[in-house]
Amino acid sequence: MEELSPTAERLVSEFVRTTRRQGAVPSRQVADRTLELLRQLVSEPGWRQTAQLVGQLRAAGRQLAAELPTQPAVGTLVCRLLKMAREEHGAHDEVHEARPHGAPPSQVDSLHRRLTAGRGAAPAADLSSELTGLRANLLAGLDELQTELDASADNIAREALSHIHADDVVLTAGRSATVLAFLRRAARERAFHVLVVEGAPFGGGHRAAAELAALPRRVHVTVIAESALFAMMARVNKVILGVHTVLADGGLRAPVGTQALALAARFHSVPVIVCAPSYKLSPQFHRGDQQEGFLESVSPESVLPYADGALVGRARLTCPLFDYVPPELVTLFVTHTGGTSPWYVYRLLNEYYDQQDHEIVQV
């Protein structure tokens, strides 16, 4: 098990502190701040060999995933950087070793190499050598990643017109910046109806509805309570949802209420489209309800106000934040590269992360 250097340790713990203190902020903000942290870790002069950097990053990733289990962006971005580092190193090796088969390594990784190299993961590349331009390359890679993040909402929104038709009836729940961008893009060209489930007790739906209603005409917004969800689902053409984390099996860790919503959608055979920026794609699995930190709960003040003291003291109250939605309830993921079925999420995972690093985000 890798150990964090004192400087890295300081950086990581400070990041954890700040993130916790911030409370509920859009995951995009956390992603930006994670990138900033990674930049600091990379530019730290403490490491010389790739292996050292990888060790530092893995240790940092592990700690972050353990301490911030409900921030998907943190672990996944660390994994992205690890993959980048490994690839840089691999590309360097390839140039020097001049591989016999000229096939691109990433493709071979998955099938050919695994078959030829016997069982288990591909033999860990030797990362002990020192690479001259690695630091600069990685920083450039992080910048690229930043650009990708910045553009991901737009890229996802670009798909909107291939999903929303004129006079469509779309249902969404809570407030997701990605979904709002998606709908806004569609509203530029088409007129349609949006039903917004209010998402009690958090009121995200109200904020989303207010933002959508402020759009120039095109969209007609109707706010409904959860209770009317089933009744209204019969009139809905598609459900468009934001997500907290896309899990490795294609399931979702989504804002509470999504499970019932997805069930209702399946009952009425309504397609469920999930807008997922790449940093929400996690190699994590759902391992049952007892999984620690998977389903966070908050104070139930919003469920039953403390002013109602006579009741609060006597009843058990719960106010969970997340639902697990099994992959069979999801029809499609829309990422910045296009649509993906839940059962091909593993392909995206392989594209973004190295298999060896999957374990660091498993909490």
Partner: protein
């Protein structure tokens, strides 16, 4: 209906019985003569008994009151009066009401002293009503007692004493109320015959004068009461009861007024004194009214008034023409009505009829003009007492036409429709109103609506009218076929709801959103209909068995125009109609016996099909609950509450998860009641149903109705709960009494639903608060949804646990058993 969910029903029953006995004892002790009075009604003929019992009960009310607390006395004597009337101590409608109230009160008291204080405070305005009310009474009493030549002295005596008793300034307002309630209940029964037989030469001028006053007076009171309506239902209930009492009393007085053969001096004096109180009465009413009106309203009213005046003029002209054509001098009131009704009988008879026609219908209708403008109260009235008979009649018809015209005009103005539309409509409406026979026209407002004999058609047409009325809100096009939520329709204090007085309290409660449960609504409606039956007087040339069902249907239809009725309510109304039509109501023994039979039927229905059914369900469903169970339930259902409570008392150890949803949040009541019954509970929102369902072992749900195709119509959100239950393989049990089974079919939740107040969705801190007027934003607050039968494992009814698909079988059984 809180009474139904009270855990210790048997205890309550025992208490009630004890109270009854006590009261009887008191009645016997304080008024030995009362006991003999009590039995008189049974032997005496249809018209008489009320007379005898009224004073007796009043006495008993006085005697019994001081010992009971202020709240109970509101219903106590009334109940005692009922008991005196009826030989069998069956739970009367009033009694059930009382039970509810006392039960609630008991609970309230336990919850905190603050609410009790609020009780007393709020009871005040209601209580003051009768004392204010007494002012014009002396005139009425003198008028009443002096002229009655046709009636025997024995009969007039009690009436006289009653009225004088009422006029006595009483320090305790509640006393007043208790006294007036028996008169209201019993007198209409006997007062009508007096009137029918009595010669009435100069009635119209007399009766039309107090009519507007009667409407104008209680209105400010009601205004005051509607505001606290939401805060505590029982206050409203009580005050509404008092109001109803007052209204009923007034009507009784008006109807009981024996028309004098020749205006004596005393009478003319009385008449001359009568207007002043009205005059003094009316301005305060307006003053109370004025600050509550917005500028727009006033403007609209002015416009409407001007229009109405025009229309009235036109109507007058038309009528004059018609009268001239008919050549019938004294038939100015309604030329078409007379030949049809009486075939040109004695003038006295026709006038009596026309008077009767005017008063009951005029009462609610009269509220409009008097409430709206002081000028209208002042204008037409002075000319009436002075005017000779035909002129007076004409002016009354004119008044009526005016009222209708105004109503129409206002409606038209509201819809921003052309005034011409209203103009074309109003004369027609006026003519129709004149045409409609039946003195005890319980539905004054339905004149512009085609009156159909079949109750079903009536209901349908009412629904259609209701659907058409307010324009659908922008955006909610898919629900434009439903009765749109209209804040103004909740404002029943405007008095133009057209709902018969007996159903008025019910309308108020519905408007205040107090009757959310199926059982509560059904019981409340049945109770109100019992009042309606009680106040019903068979019109001449009509049969009770044919006319009363129509009246019931029409009244319910009127109610449905204002407020969407639940399936349970529609069902019980229909069952009542059918029962009147098909059961052997002893109509040949006179109105009184027949009405008593019908009211007994209603009580039996409530008892058997609602109360006992709930007990049976709690027995059957209780068998399904075992130790260690975690029962998930949704919202508030009295039946489910009963089941859980029974299981808890049986000694079962289980836990309950109460799932709730915005905006109704009635699960909190459920939670409170369960916790009070010592059932360990969890509480959460529907949003997190997935989490709650994981903990649960069984799902227990209530229902509004079971449709013929197996769909369960229930409080919105139920379908989502049962869907999640099904997804996680938890058995889903629905508890539903069979009277809620409907022969209707429905395949989605849109064709029939109820739209709640959209503003309920908006929390104060919501960003939508400023956007409510936005063109592109709408808020949808659905009341119901339908759960497909495949999501429900079993329906627990009083007949046992059956699958949802057995609804048609049960319905067939019901039909074969009942008829």
């Amino acid at each position: 209906m809180e009474l139904l969910v009270e855990p210790s029903r048997s205890f309550k029953r025992r208490q009630r019985r004890k109270k009854q006995q006590e009261r009887r004892r008191q009645a016997d002790g304080s008024a030995p003569a009362g006991s003999s009075d009590e039995h008189e009604p049974r032997t005496a003929g249809g018209g008489e008994p009320g007379e005898g019992s009224a004073p007796a009960s009043r006495r008993s009310g006085q005697g019994g009151h001081p010992r009971t607390d202020g709240g109970q006395c509101g219903v106590g004597p009334e109940h005692a009066a009922r008991e005196a009337d009826r030989p069998a101590p069956v739970a009367s409608s009033g009694e059930t009401e009382g039970r509810t109230k006392s039960a609630k009160r008991r609970k309230r008291r336990s919850t905190g002293p603050s609410s009790a204080a609020a009780n007393d405070q709020q009871a005040e305005p209601a209580a003051t009503a009768p004392s204010e009310r007494t002012e014009p009474a002396p005139a009425a009493s003198t008028r009443r007692t002096e002229p009655a030549p046709s009636t025997s002295s024995k009969r007039t005596e009690p009436v006289h004493s009653a009225s004088t008793e009422q006029t006595e300034p009483d320090p305790s307002a509640s006393d007043q109320r208790t006294k007036s309630s028996p008169t209201q209940r019993t007198e209409p029964v006997h007062s009508a015959p007096t009137e029918r037989t009595a010669p009435a030469p100069s009635v119209p001028s007399q009766c039309s004068a107090p009519a507007p006053e009667s409407g104008a007076e209680p209105l400010p009171e009601r205004r005051r009461e509607t505001s606290p309506v939401v805060s505590s239902s029982e206050e409203v209930l009580r005050s509404v009861r008092a109001l109803q009492t007052v209204l009923g009393e007034l009507r009784t007085r008006l109807l009981a007024e024996p028309p004098p053969a020749a205006p004596s001096e005393a009478q003319s004096a009385a008449r001359s004194t009568a207007p002043p109180p009205q005059a003094t009465m009316a301005p305060p009413a307006d003053a109370a009214e004025a600050p509550q009106k917005t500028k727009e309203q006033i403007k609209a009213e002015r416009k409407a008034k001007a229009e109405a005046a025009k229309l009235a003029k036109a109507a007058k002209a038309q009528k004059k023409q018609a009268a001239a054509a008919a050549g019938d001098g004294d038939g100015g009131d309604g030329p078409p009505s007379k030949p049809a009704q009486s075939g040109g009988g004695a003038p006295a008879e026709t006038t009596a009829k026309s008077k009767k026609m005017a008063t009951p219908s005029g009462e609610p209708a009269a509220a409009k003009p008097s409430e709206k403008t002081p000028t209208l109260v002042g204008q037409p009235e002075p000319e009436k007492p002075a005017g000779e008979k035909p002129a007076g009649e004409k002016s009354k018809a004119e008044l009526k036409a005016e009222r209708r015209a105004k109503q129409e005009a206002q409606r038209a103005a509201k819809a921003a429709a052309a005034a011409s539309a209203a103009a074309t409509k109003t004369p027609k409406a006026g003519a129709k109103a004149a045409k409609t026979p039946g003195p005890e026209r319980v539905t004054p407002g339905d004149a512009d609506q085609p009156h159909k004999e079949s109750s079903k058609g009536d209901r349908r047409s009412a629904k259609k009218a209701a659907a058409e009325k307010p324009p659908a809100r922008k955006g909610l096009q898919m629900f434009s076929h439903l009765l749109q939520f209209d804040a103004s329709s909740a404002d029943t204090a405007t008095g133009k709801h057209g709902v018969p007085p007996a159903l008025e309290p019910l309308l108020l409660r519905l408007s205040a959103g107090q009757l959310t449960g199926g059982n509560a609504g059904a019981v409340a409606l049945l109770t109100a209909l019992a009042d309606l039956v009680d106040q019903y007087v068979t019109p001449p040339q009509r049969e009770l068995l044919r006319d009363l069902p129509d009246q019931v249907a029409a009244a319910v239809a009127q109610l449905a125009r204002r407020r969407p009725l639940s399936v349970a309510m529609e069902n019980v109304a229909h069952r009542l109609e059918q029962a009147i039509r098909h059961e052997d109501v002893p109509a040949d023994k006179g109105d009184y016996e027949a009405k008593r039979y019908i009211i007994d039927w209603i009580e039996t229905f409530i008892n058997d099909h609602i109360c006992k059914a709930m007990t049976a369900i709690s027995m059957f469903a209780g068998q399904k609950i075992t130790d260690g169970d975690v029962i998930l339930t949704y919202g508030r259902s009295t039946t489910v509450l009963d089941v859980l409570d029974a299981a808890q008392r049986k000694g079962c150890r289980f836990r309950v998860i109460v799932v709730d949803s915005r905006p109704r949040l009635d699960g909190r009541d459920m939670l409170r009641q369960l916790l009070d019954a010592n059932v360990p509970c969890s509480y959460g929102l529907l949003t997190a149903i997935g989490h709650h369902m994981k903990e649960a072992t069984k799902v227990l749900l209530g229902a509004q109705a079971l449709l013929s195709n197996g769909m369960v119509l229930s409080h919105a959100g139920t379908a989502l709960v049962s869907l999640t239950g099904r997804a996680l393989n938890r058995p889903v049990l629905v508890c539903c009494e069979t009277y809620k089974f409907s022969d209707r079919v429905q395949t989605d939740s849109q064709v029939y639903n109820e739209l709640g107040d959209p503003n309920e969705l908006v929390t104060p801190d919501s960003p939508l608060a400023d956007l409510r007027q936005s063109e592109s934003l709408s808020l949808l607050n659905l009341a119901y949804d339908v759960t497909p039968p495949e999501l429900v494992d079993v329906v627990v009814t009083e007949l046992g646990a059956i699958p949802c698909t057995s609804v048609p079988a049960v319905l067939r059984l019901q039909q074969s058993v009942v008829y």
